[in-house]
């Protein structure tokens, strides 16, 4: 079903995305300020969601879209809550 060329392209894309997640993880660990770490976490969420989409093409299954949707949803909620916490010191006031 999937030709070798497409298979290798998908593997290359997964490699690039893993590299991107490593970069975001490095910024998450060394980030000098708290807002740097929140931004790195947000970037990590986006990269993880893109990885889910590539895996969905690789295994030709649409189950991965729900997972990608959930990752995007929780990433948004988490980043917004953290940014609100940095701004106010409280998440819900």
């Amino acid at each position: 079903m999937i030709t070798p060329l497409l298979l290798w392209a998908l593997r290359g894309a997964l490699f690039l995305l893993a590299l991107a997640m490593l970069c975001a993880l490095a910024r998450l660990l060394i980030g000098p300020s708290a807002q740097d770490r929140v931004m790195a976490l947000d970037c990590l969420y986006i990269n993880g969601m893109l990885t889910m989409l590539v895996l969905g093409i690789l295994y030709a299954s649409s189950v991965y879209f729900e997972a990608a949707m959930l990752i995007a949803l929780f990433g948004f909620v988490g980043s917004t809550a953290l940014a609100k916490f940095l701004l106010r010191g409280e998440v819900i006031e």
Binding site: A13, S33, V38, M39, C43, L50, V54, A72, F76
Partner: protein, 115 residues
């Protein structure tokens, strides 16, 4: 699901979009490590959140529409959701960073209400 080989142009488009999306995400994340200050760094990941997500969505739509018999549009939901939420997160984070930098007495513009 129809069996058999995909047309060559479907495969080419999928490869192009997948590799472009992954490359955009990698460049954006690399900028996150490379750029010197927070206010420069906040620009970098938006490359992955816009072009990366849209390219990957296009690849998904092309691949699954050719594989199934009908147009596959579920992935547009993800791209639309990210397009709606990424600016909100970035604005919140930017305001928080400005607020904290002002509290520390850093060299940032003062709040609009104070001037």
């Amino acid at each position: 699901m129809t069996s058999g080989m995909l047309p060559w142009w479907v495969e080419t488009l999928t490869i192009l979009f997948v590799l472009a999306g992954a490359a955009f995400a990698a460049i954006g994340s690399f900028g996150l490590v490379r750029l010197p200050s927070f206010f420069r760094r906040i620009h970098a990941p938006t490359l992955g959140a816009t072009l990366g997500v849209w390219c990957m969505t296009a690849a998904t739509i092309v691949f699954f529409s050719a594989q199934g018999d009908h147009l596959f549009l579920h992935a547009v939901l993800i791209a639309l959701f990210v397009a709606l939420t990424a600016p909100v997160t970035t604005i919140f984070l930017m305001r928080a960073a400005l607020f904290r930098e002002r509290q520390k007495g850093g060299k940032v513009p003062s709040a609009a209400s104070e001037t």
